[in-house]
Subunit: 209 residues, 2 copies
């Protein structure tokens, strides 16, 4: 029996996954969480065999949540999923410690298989992005955003959301100063001068809209 914690901010999505997963007798969604904070709360109550985690959480976001979970429980097994087909999200999630990544458009079988594999401690990548991902990693510098560390990526996401530096500091529990430094680093790494260029670049990379 694999006990699962399911984290997504949309109730319908949670319901859908619950149905899907529980068609297998040996899978059980032990708890759900609609936010990062709630997820951390549930984790204080019990320790699932597997955490299925939507990357696009409001607030601190899925990557930051993964970071925090792994900080407390370094052996936690996290399967990340997201609507983004862009390899960038996958690589950031994996770098942050997720064992697997699947897109929301993946077929039910793919998801089920991913769940089993991650529960066993294996790594897995959604087949629909794997080829593109491999290519991206080969070219390496193709996407300048791949130079960003997971943390920087997280800060960037919040900046793109229109948040102020102060607010981001609170959200991530770090000093505004660190956020400023991150902001600066991001612009430097992406070779961009103004925030507006940053937004446009992000748009081109499809991190936005």
């Amino acid at each position: 029996m694999i006990r699962i914690l399911l984290v997504d901010d949309h109730a319908v999505v949670r319901e859908g996954y619950r149905r899907l997963l529980e068609r297998r007798a040996d899978l059980r969604v032990e708890a759900e969480a609609a936010s990062a904070d709630e997820a951390l709360q549930r984790l204080r109550e019990f320790t699932p065999d597997l955490i299925v985690l939507d990357l696009s959480l409001p607030g601190m976001g899925g990557i930051e949540l993964a970071r925090r979970i792994l900080q407390r429980q370094p052996d936690a097994r996290i399967l990340a999923f997201s609507m983004h087909r862009d390899p960038l999200f996958a690589s950031q999630a994996m770098r942050a410690g997720a064992l697997g990544y699947v897109t929301k458009s993946s077929s039910p079988e793919v998801l089920i298989q991913a769940v089993y594999k991650v529960a066993r401690g294996e790594r897995i990548l959604s087949p629909d992005i794997a080829p593109e991902m491999a290519l991206t990693l080969l070219q390496e510098k193709a996407n300048p955003a791949s130079e960003l560390s997971p943390r920087e990526f997280e800060i960037l996401r919040l900046l793109l959301d229109g948040r102020g530096v102060e607010e981001i500091g609170n959200l991530l529990n770090i000093s505004p100063k660190t956020v400023q430094n991150g902001h600066y680093q991001i612009k430097a790494k992406l070779g961009v001068k103004t925030d507006i260029e940053l937004a446009r670049l992000a748009m081109k990379l499809k991190l936005i809209d």
Copy 2:
């Protein structure tokens, strides 16, 4: 005989318009210019009956050029054209003093008619955007960017281009300080807090990409 100054940075486009216009015996493209500076130069050499002006000039941009022309020759007759179907560009161009506005996708007849009308001092609007424009003006506040003065609009355009405040100051021959104030005003008028939100809003309004 109507003597015309044609301003567009693309040689092919100029050529196309020249052909089109000179099929009429009473229209004559007396001079061409590929940039704002060049246009101002030509205007020192002669005074056309009509100026046909692409709004999307590199550098200072068409609206600013119109402003400068009208500053020297308040009775100059300017027909603006642009690829943008968005009424915003039209209204800004008219507010800056252009007598007419047509889109680049307008039919040859429309353009020819516009030329004659503007040369006569009449005002004209491209039929393909007129309805939308009227609706926009009715709703008025529909588009928050309509609150921007022509000058602010111009500054915004350059900011969205990724230019720095200093650079814009040089381009528009105003103090960087004024640009800063403009930048501040723009954000205030659009109800936006960060530059990134500004970029996203601009994107939504299709002023960008």
